[in-house]
């Protein structure tokens, strides 16, 4: 069973094509690293999965449901953290959590509380006064609050300090412990991806370069993920 199936996903902005005929699958229960250089189209692709952007062609299926037709039902079961997450600034953390929780049928309040404690986020503070790191941690806590079956992270901790990055990796790991949970996360910090990913999807200039098991890739390339990536992308650049 695949948690994510992407078929021929394409996005054009006027004359520019950001994502071209992207097709790949992410098996249920895996941690999939979505890799590419800056501007490769990762964020655009992820936004299409989350129905934040309308594909010019192709489709995506999450947890067996079409991402556009069943978007609202899917959002009960999918957690998402965007790149540089934005929250309603004027609210206090407590109010934002309550506001977010109101949308979900099943909300794991103790879990969210635990995470906020672990991240040392003051519930009575206004969201606009949180540091970048705390803001990202808050976003992760909110994303995990709905006990999602699928967690999608878009460069969640890029630019944040090592401790916050570890929090994100831990979050991924904790989620994946449970049966049938899947994680897709994009990053260009390949050494971190290597730690936790068992699947990888590599894209460059909006096109798929490789998708499959990380282990197989490393075995066939005989080198680290970073080196493999550089070689594969560099090859394309030279062509």
């Amino acid at each position: 069973m695949n948690a994510i199936v992407v078929e021929n996903l394409t996005k054009r902005f006027g004359r520019r094509t950001a994502v071209e005929a992207l097709s790949f699958q992410v098996p249920e229960g895996s941690v999939c690293g979505f890799l590419g250089r800056n501007g490769a189209g990762k964020t655009t692709a992820i936004r299409m999965l989350m129905n934040l952007a309308r594909p010019s062609a192709g489709r995506a299926t999450l947890l067996g449901l079409d991402s556009r037709a069943h978007h609202t039902a899917l959002m009960q079961r999918v957690g998402y953290v965007s790149e540089s997450p934005v929250h309603y600034d004027g609210m206090k953390v407590r109010d934002l959590v309550r506001f977010t929780a109101s949308f979900y049928r099943a909300w794991n309040a103790p879990r969210v509380g635990e995470l906020l404690d672990r991240f040392a986020i003051d519930r009575d503070q206004k969201v606009r006064h949180l540091s970048r790191g705390s803001n990202a941690q808050l976003a992760l806590a909110l994303a995990l609050g709905g006990d999602p079956e699928l967690l999608i992270l878009d460069e969640p901790a890029t630019g944040l300090d090592v401790l916050v990055r570890r929090d994100f990796l831990e979050g991924i790991i904790q989620l994946i412990q449970r049966e049938g949970r899947t994680v897709l996360f994009s990053s260009h910090l390949l050494h971190e991806v290597e730690r936790v990913a068992d699947q990888v999807v590599l894209i460059d200039h909006g096109r798929l370069i490789h998708s499959g098991s990380l282990e197989e890739l490393k075995l066939s390339m005989g080198r680290s993920l970073e080196e493999s990536f550089v070689e594969m992308v560099g090859e394309r650049a030279r062509l």
């Binding site: 989350m50 934040l52 952007a53 309308r54 609202t72 959002m75 934005v86 506001f99 109101s102």
Partner: protein, 618 residues
């Protein structure tokens, strides 16, 4: 969903607090009489519609576009809630806040009931309750709000949506103005978007049927637009219009407005003037700087015109000019008769005269000692002037247009609080016994009454007179022995409108009485000429009272004169007498209509002759 609605309302708290706070501040100022009553008039006509429209647009444009720009819209879009629900929730919150703001804005106009200087506003307040006015106004602003919200869904910055909404609002206002002008007698005035000086909105507010129809349509439109906005966000969360799309949309709005105005403008058969006579004007040298072009200056800004046969008399403050139009293409000035020490009694800025044979009757005041005297001057084209003294000038007196009946002249006069019909025999230089018409009720407190006018028209064997309390029919089959044939008591629309002028006109079997504030026409059936009975009342927004000679009605319209006739429930336009200039006043004689153009600094005034027979209404 509750939490989302609460959040949307919280987002709008600035508007609510600001709007209500401002309204409270103004109410306080009104209570302390800082502005006096004059502010309320300004508020109603200009500021209230502008601030309500600003609120409607301001609230709507930010609700989606600002969140899209700040990226908080994404936060909502990845929750298990449909984009449609997001838009509807915003719509509900915005509508509630808008309702509060519009109510506060309109209520300000009703703030201090006892002291209002503005007549138009007073008429509104005394005839339309706050609730009625709100019921008719709110759906219109609701519609504007829904449109702003829809624009907000289309773009990525609130400013862009505001620009689009602003273009639309201006186009609608211009369109409403254009419709009133281009399509006379159309019922469009009832659909005026925001507020108008023509009173169409007021008339609609007073009629439960019109109120519910127009209100219902606007409300349905608002909901339809909101549904469209919701559908658009559901279809795609990204913006629909970039900068280029925005420019195209704005241009499209303007084009559609212009095309609608063109399409709606009534195409009437036109008639060109058969002859034109130019008034001589004193060419004054430029008094000021050299770059001020010389302008034709007539002796007075007013002026009147009367016609008898093909002799046209153009009356100004100090002279009467007799122009012979027997060869219409080549009119010639027959004589100019000066009126020394004379000043016509101007009334509502339109001066009229009447003719007997080749003389003009002019009512005016003559400089005299110790007090100026009111006279009727009978000015003959030969140059001689006969004067019929009426009495000393008194500020609260009113003298109507003189109406010749046979050899006699009738004049409606208000003196003290009594209206009477005075009768003169100009040939014998004597006055016959007057006929009392109306004893006015005592003056109401706090109403600053002016002189109460009496309006007269002559039809066949009867004179019809409109005085403050009555519409009186006088039998003048024997001009020397007039008698009152009937009297219809008249109900003013509001207390303070008692004593306002009610100009009369007639066409075919119908007598028309114009009322003001808001402007409407009461049509009376004259099948029994002695006893007119009310047949219909309808709104007329064309402007001032019209002239009729029985065969058709005429009034100044656009760059000429509109010829129209009575239809069952109103009027029907017939022809457009196109003169190329705005017309001040007209005179009818036989098959001809003579129009005196309004004064403009660029062009000299003219008299234009139109041959209106044989093809006319029945």
């Amino acid at each position: 969903m509750n939490q989302l609605l609460w959040k949307e309302l919280r987002d709008l708290r600035g508007w609510l607090a600001g709007g209500l706070g401002l309204a409270a501040a103004f109410a306080l100022l009104l209570a302390t009489d800082v502005f006096g009553g004059s502010f309320v008039g300004l508020w109603m006509q200009a500021l209230m519609p502008m601030s309500a429209a600003a609120a409607a647009i301001g609230i709507g444009v930010a609700q989606v576009a600002r969140e899209r720009h700040a990226r908080t819209l994404d936060f909502l879009l990845v929750r298990p809630v449909t984009p449609q629900a997001i838009v509807w929730t915003k719509f509900v919150a915005g509508s509630a806040v808008l309702a509060a703001l519009v109510a506060a804005a309109v209520a300000l106009a009703y703030a201090k009931p006892q002291f209002v200087l503005d007549t138009g506003l007073r008429a509104i307040r005394e005839q339309v309750s706050l609730k009625q006015l709100l019921l008719i106004l709110f759906p219109r602003f609701w519609c504007l709000y829904a449109l702003s919200l829809a624009f907000s869904v289309l773009v990525d910055r609130s400013l862009k949506a505001a620009a689009l909404a602003g273009v639309l609002a201006v186009a609608l206002i211009a369109l409403a103005g254009a419709f009133a002008d281009l399509a006379p007698f159309s019922g469009f005035v009832f659909w005026t978007p925001f507020f108008d000086g023509t009173g169409g909105l007021i008339e609609a507010a007073r009629s439960a049927r019109l109120s519910s129809v127009t209100g219902g349509v606007y409300a349905a439109l608002a909901l339809l637009i909101a549904a469209t906005a919701a559908g658009l966000l559901q279809r795609s969360p990204e913006r629909y219009l970039g900068t280029r799309g925005l420019a195209v949309s704005a241009a499209a709005i303007v084009i559609v407005a212009v095309v609608s105005a063109e399409g709606a403008s009534v195409r009437l058969p036109e008639l060109a003037p058969a002859g034109v006579w130019q008034l001589p004007g004193a060419l004054t040298a430029a008094i000021h700087a050299d770059d001020v072009p010389p302008a034709f200056v007539d002796e007075s800004d007013e002026g009147g015109i009367a016609a008898h046969g093909s002799l046209v008399a153009v009356v100004s403050n100090s002279a009467v000019r007799f122009v012979d139009f027997s060869d219409p293409a080549h009119p010639r000035l027959r004589s100019t008769v000066e009126l020394p020490l004379w000043q016509s009694l101007a009334e509502w800025s339109v001066f009229k005269a009447a003719t007997i044979d080749d003389a003009v009757l002019v009512v005016g005041q003559k400089k005299a000692l110790p007090v100026d005297e009111v006279q009727i001057a009978i000015v003959h084209s030969s140059g001689s002037i006969d004067a019929v003294p009426l009495g000393p000038v008194r500020p609260s007196d009113y003298y109507s247009v003189p109406v010749p009946v046979g050899p006699l002249v009738y004049l409606g006069v208000t003196h003290g609080r009594v209206c009477s019909l005075r009768i003169f025999d100009p040939a014998a230089h004597r006055e016959l016994a007057p006929l009392a018409l109306d004893r006015m009720r005592p003056p109401a407190k706090a109403i600053n009454e002016g002189a109460a006018p009496v309006r007269i028209i002559h039809r066949g064997n009867y004179l019809y007179l409109a005085s403050p309390s009555f519409l009186t029919t006088v039998d003048v089959a024997d001009p020397a022995a007039p008698r009152i044939a009937g009297r219809l008591p008249v109900q003013p629309k509001a207390d303070f409108l008692y004593g306002f002028p009610r100009p009369l006109g007639w066409q075919g079997q119908r007598l028309f009485e114009t009322r003001y504030f808001p402007q409407s026409v009461t049509a009376y059936d004259l099948s029994d000429p002695a006893h007119p009975h009310p047949a219909a009342e309808f709104t007329d927004h064309g402007g001032l009272a019209f002239d009729g000679d029985g065969r058709a009605c005429y009034r100044p319209w656009r760059s000429g004169v509109l010829e129209f006739q009575s239809a069952r429930d109103g009027f029907q336009a017939l022809r457009y007498l196109h003169s190329g200039s705005a017309i001040a006043t007209i005179a009818l004689s036989g098959d001809w209509l003579y129009a005196l153009t309004a004064p403009t600094p660029q062009k000299p005034r003219t008299v234009q002759a139109f041959r209106i027979a044989p093809s006319r209404g029945h």
